[in-house]
Symmetry: C3
Subunit: 337 residues, 3 copies
Amino acid sequence: MRTFLNAQDLGGLRQALAEAAEIKKDRYKYVDLGRNMTALLVFFNNSLRTRLSTQKAAQNLGMNVIVLDVNAGAWKLETKRGVVMDGDKSEHLLEAIPVMGCYCDVIGIRSFAGLKDREYDYAETVYWQFVRHSGRPVFAMETATVHPLQAFADLITIDETPVPGKRKKVVMSWAPHPRSLPQAVPNSFAQWMLAAANEPDGIDGGLDFVITQPHGYELDPQFVGGARIEYDQMKAFEGADFIYAKNWSCPGVTNPQDYGKVLGDYHDYLSWTVGERQMAMTNNAHFMHCLPVRRNMIVTDDVIEAPTSLVIPEAANREISATVVIKRMVEELKAGR
Amino acid sequence: MRTFLNAQDLGGLRQALAEAAEIKKDRYKYVDLGRNMTALLVFFNNSLRTRLSTQKAAQNLGMNVIVLDVNAGAWKLETKRGVVMDGDKSEHLLEAIPVMGCYCDVIGIRSFAGLKDREYDYAETVYWQFVRHSGRPVFAMETATVHPLQAFADLITIDETPVPGKRKKVVMSWAPHPRSLPQAVPNSFAQWMLAAANEPDGIDGGLDFVITQPHGYELDPQFVGGARIEYDQMKAFEGADFIYAKNWSCPGVTNPQDYGKVLGDYHDYLSWTVGERQMAMTNNAHFMHCLPVRRNMIVTDDVIEAPTSLVIPEAANREISATVVIKRMVEELKAGR
Amino acid sequence: MRTFLNAQDLGGLRQALAEAAEIKKDRYKYVDLGRNMTALLVFFNNSLRTRLSTQKAAQNLGMNVIVLDVNAGAWKLETKRGVVMDGDKSEHLLEAIPVMGCYCDVIGIRSFAGLKDREYDYAETVYWQFVRHSGRPVFAMETATVHPLQAFADLITIDETPVPGKRKKVVMSWAPHPRSLPQAVPNSFAQWMLAAANEPDGIDGGLDFVITQPHGYELDPQFVGGARIEYDQMKAFEGADFIYAKNWSCPGVTNPQDYGKVLGDYHDYLSWTVGERQMAMTNNAHFMHCLPVRRNMIVTDDVIEAPTSLVIPEAANREISATVVIKRMVEELKAGR
């Protein structure tokens, strides 16, 4: 595995979930695998969960870890050829990225969407620059359009949580937020749920996936193609086993000029806040969120604090998903593939 | 040991000092104890000595170390239930702290007093939030009211420094400073000296402890209860073996509205600067300070540079005190207590 | 080896190059040498290559690494005795540096030239304060006047790159830049090239070294004494095997009042930008630069991207040069010298 952006990069999810369960039973089982290897974690944006869990994951594998914080403002890389670099950019990516590759074996990249230029964001420009120029396997620690370590952790969490029925119904619900947020988390969650639903035995008993959101917030078909969308939140929640709440700004699929915007006044959408009223429609569903979460905007205190809430187990599984992903990359490096 | 705030948390000081001596003889004696365990060090405030010495201590025990710098300004945690989080706080402590606990085995916290709200500071609100919600043993790396790793290092330093007489006289002296400083260091130093004085054989030969300070700077009785206070600095210094200088702002014990203030103009207190005049009263005393120290405000160049000055040995013993404390926590975790 | 500032600190370069080749063949050959030892890397200035490569080097040797970022603005050390410290400086170097020495075995220092006070910069004031007061071996990670880890990496790169003729001709060329840059890199490169040229067998087949630059940019004789200077860039490039481009500000050797300045308008010097025109004069020379490099100011896109360009191999060799240097320091510590 040389890249990790999408569910498909892992190959079969059943096998990946089995590896996750093995790591979870003994986090240091592969502590000798990564000895004398170095993971470089490059952060262009802030991080709490990802920073801690990914460091821990690499250390679980016995690797040395180097964390590099790149202040997006201070470190402006020139990306075009032919430019006379007499301004505020003091380095070209064609030098900076290969150099980073010199001092490590695998690279993790955090680089958020700017939410100004849809084409630039959705091309995953920064991520692919690292893949092309570093010479190393590169995994996403939330990039412009995806957050696969989160989605994999969420899948692990759903997989290990039993429900009364045989088939699991998972509902991803948009929820209000005062600021513009990227689509990385919902894009990945949808992609992974659809992949698990489509894989025979991807989830024990099978999985139904539904998205509920206000009109205008349609996600990019490359991630949600084939997903059922239900614009009536209450109806979507009927019989659900898992409610995955998340805000996202306008993906700009139908109206590109709205890309990255909060549509309308968020106060008008407060009925979407997940509370007792909606949860009453479900099959005593488990509440999920990737965190950080704004309480009483995304979800009420009561719902997030309920015994069925899975927000902390999801976060704990970030260590597991990252350990599996880095382990895969290290194994392939050692096999010389 | 699940918490480390107070001298009492270590149990008997004699035993703790014996462990310190053992570690000092061979810093890596327990390098296999903490293998495949992680210490998370969370800094809400700047740090030089604590950052370096505590990392070194955890590495002495073979642990992985993750350092998290939390910009107090940027990371505002909501702490109340029921608040609609539509402002500048993007995460609630009820999520943030359990998440941090997911990725580590022990946690160290640095969180200074704000010096605005005495009740909030003296309740050690941030520290106890971590204890309650992280699920991990938590040790103070200077919190609002205490700095026990420093006080333990100071006790080690006093214990290992012979004096001509049998009984050691230790004087803690307030000294002037242009800015408002917390009471954490003097609170802990007093608490630890009193504990050592009260413990049979706590210090070989016994220990007398005296505090000298201007009127209005009385420390909280929970830390200094039972200590002798002598408002005449020259008289306090008579026959002293150790002079521990430190500035602190008004603890607000008698006048709560003065909490955190510099009383009067500090220029009027420059006679309190520890110099040759005062040291001449002592029994050729050793000068001590926790550092950083402002020279010629707290102490003159000549006194801090004298061969009897212990400021560097005190700092060096920070590694030792932290190693003992983390070792205790790891031992209890492994024993399943 | 207690200090590492100059080529002479390594003793014979031939032996150092042999050690570099050994490390390069097996980077972890000495992974047990530094076990239970700590390298402290102190950065007073930003760093990408040095930060990553030096961490990697210490980890190659099995050491624990502690990185300390010192914001030059926030951490102002008082350096004079007798000053009443009632201003913005909260610590004296006579305490701060010995304390840092307490928690480590070797120290690396990055501290750039201020380019305001030639005497202060050229005395290497900060570096020697660390040597005098830390009690530890100290190596330069680019200081005010030298960057020996870079120059050693450059020497390794030249040594391992075969050329058609027997004798290698190396040309260091000044190039234009819009801002004032220190002289550390050219000082060290010149010093190391001259040392290699003067050492019998320093470089297989021998080495000729030429500096080309506009009038007024003469480097300090302590570094370039004995070097041939050719003010006509085209003539200097004739028959060259290696072109080492670099900007530097006025060293102030002839006119001390010009120290640290960009002389004239840099637009008037754009003919010095290394391009095809100049490279055509050479013996199909390899292009070199320490990075970061401003393209189309220092060098054209075509030249830096040519297959003969060595900028990435130079950067990769930074790991090797740092491993050799730290290894030498650790070996001497263990031998008790």
